[in-house]
C-alpha cells in the first residue's frame, strides 16, 4: 500500500491518501480509503477506511475512521468503528470511542475512553436508523 522508501508508487487500484511530513492540511478532510498522516492536520479528519498517524504527526481535529493506529499526537475527539491501537509514542488529548482500544505502555491519554458495549450500541443505533429509512414506503 505505502512505498517502502517513502516514494510515490502508482496504484492500479485504491486511492489512498498520504499526508507527508512537509504538508499541513487545513479544513474538512473527508476520504473514502486509507489515510496515512505524517504531517499536520487541522480541522476535521474523516475516512471510511483505516487511519495511521505517524510518530511525528500532529492532528488537531475531530477524527473518524474505520480503524486507527496512532503513534503521534491527536488533539481532538476520536471515533473509530473497529479497533484503535495506541502505540508507545501516542499522545491523545480528547475522548476515544471504539469497539476495541489497545494501549501500549508509554502512550498518554487525557480524556474519556469508551469501548465495547458503548461503541456497539452506537453502531446498532446507526443500523436501526438505516433500516427504518429503507422501510418507509415511496410516495405515490
Amino acid at each position: 500500500m505505502f512505498g517502502k522508501d517513502g516514494g510515490f508508487e502508482g496504484r492500479a487500484s485504491g486511492v489512498e491518501t498520504v499526508i507527508g511530513p512537509t504538508v499541513h492540511v487545513e479544513g474538512d478532510f473527508v476520504g473514502e480509503q486509507d489515510v496515512l498522516v505524517e504531517g499536520a492536520v487541522t480541522g476535521t479528519l474523516k475516512t471510511k477506511g483505516n487511519l495511521r498517524v505517524g510518530e511525528k504527526a500532529v492532528v488537531e481535529a475531530e477524527v473518524e475512521a474505520n480503524s486507527a493506529v496512532i503513534a503521534g499526537t491527536i488533539r481532538g475527539n476520536i471515533t473509530v468503528k473497529d479497533k484503535i491501537d495506541l502505540q508507545a509514542s501516542a499522545h491523545i488529548e480528547g475522548d476515544l470511542v471504539a469497539q476495541t482500544i489497545s494501549v501500549e505502555p508509554g502512550a498518554t491519554i487525557r480524556g474519556h475512553c469508551e469501548c465495547g458495549t458503548a461503541a456497539k450500541s452506537e453502531a446498532a443505533r446507526d443500523n436501526e436508523a438505516m433500516k427504518k429509512k429503507k422501510e418507509v414506503p415511496a410516495m405515490a
Binding site: F8, G10, T22, G27
Partner: protein
C-alpha cells in the same frame, strides 16, 4: 469509418515495408479506411475535423508516442474512438495499452475492445497523463473542502491522471489508475542532505475530483502533458470516462 494518420517523422526506408504490411492486413480484416500522412501542411486537427464532418468515428495513430498524445488531445473533445498502431520509436505506450508493435496491432484494432479512460481538464484544456507545476508558490483547495500548506523549499507538484507517461521510459509502478474517477495530486519532497547523509521525506498523495490552484505571488505556469502551458488561476477537475481507447488484453490497467 476509420481515419489512419501516419506519423510524419517515421523514417521512410525503415518503415515502408511495415506500412505496406499494415495496409494489407487492415484490408484483410475489413477495417481499412482513409490513410493520410501528416506534414507541415496537413495538421492532425484539420484532418480529423474534416473527416468528422463525413461521419468518421475512429481515428488511428500510426507512429510513436508523440503522435498518440497528439491524437488523444484532438479526438477526446470530439468523442471519437482512438486506436494506436505503434511504429518507430519511442513507443512506450504500446505496452501500457496492451498493443503489439507493427502489423500485429491491426488484430487488436479489429477486436475493438474499447476502454473508457478518465481525462483531466484544466480550465478549458484536456490533459491525459499529468499536469506539472513550475515553481509552485501556490494555494491549492481540494474539492472545496480543505487546502494544504507545503513547508518545503521547491517541492515538485504533479496532478496525475495516468502518471508521467509522456516523458521517457517508465514502469508499471509509476502509473496511476486512469479509470478510478480521481486525479492524484502528488507532492514530492526534495532530497534532504545533511552531515548524516541524504534522505527523502515521504511523498504526499491526495486523491481529488476538483482542485483550485491560485498563485500566492506572481502567476505560476502549469504544464499539461509536457506540452500545453496554462497560467494560474486554474480549476483542475477529473472528467470521468472521457476518452474511448481501443486496447489489448495485456494492458496495464
Amino acid at each position: 469509418m476509420y481515419l489512419y494518420l501516419v506519423d510524419q517523422h517515421l523514417h521512410p526506408g525503415k518503415t515502408a515495408t511495415t506500412l505496406a504490411r499494415i495496409e494489407s492486413r487492415l484490408i484483410e480484416l475489413g477495417i481499412n479506411g482513409k490513410m493520410e500522412k501528416l506534414s507541415v501542411l496537413k495538421s492532425a486537427k484539420e484532418l480529423v475535423q474534416d473527416q468528422v464532418r463525413e461521419g468518421m468515428k475512429t481515428v488511428v495513430a500510426i507512429g510513436t508516442d508523440a503522435l498518440l498524445r497528439q491524437m488523444i488531445a484532438v479526438a477526446a473533445p470530439l468523442n471519437l474512438v482512438v486506436g494506436f498502431i505503434p511504429l518507430g520509436a519511442p513507443i512506450h505506450l504500446a505496452k501500457v495499452f496492451g498493443i503489439p508493435e507493427g502489423g500485429d496491432a491491426c488484430d487488436v484494432l479489429s477486436a475493438r475492445m474499447i476502454k473508457k479512460i478518465d481525462m483531466g481538464k484544466v480550465n478549458h484544456h484536456y490533459f491525459f497523463s499529468s499536469l506539472e507545476l513550475e515553481h509552485p508558490a501556490v494555494r491549492m483547495t481540494f474539492d472545496g473542502k480543505y487546502h494544504i500548506n507545503i513547508q518545503s523549499d521547491e517541492p515538485r507538484i504533479s496532478v496525475c491522471n495516468f502518471g508521467n507517461i509522456f516523458h521517457g521510459a517508465f514502469s508499471r509502478e509509476d502509473l496511476s489508475n486512469p479509470c478510478d474517477g480521481y486525479l492524484e495530486t502528488v507532492i514530492r519532497s526534495p532530497q534532504r542532505r545533511s552531515f548524516f547523509g541524504s534522505g527523502t521525506g515521504r511523498d504526499s498523495v491526495f486523491p481529488v475530483r476538483k482542485l483550485m490552484i491560485h498563485a500566492q505571488r506572481e502567476a505560476v505556469k502549469l504544464i499539461a502533458d509536457h506540452e500545453q502551458v496554462i497560467s494560474t488561476p486554474a480549476t483542475v477537475e477529473i472528467v470521468p470516462q472521457k476518452l474511448k481507447m481501443i486496447v489489448g488484453k495485456s494492458r496495464w490497467f
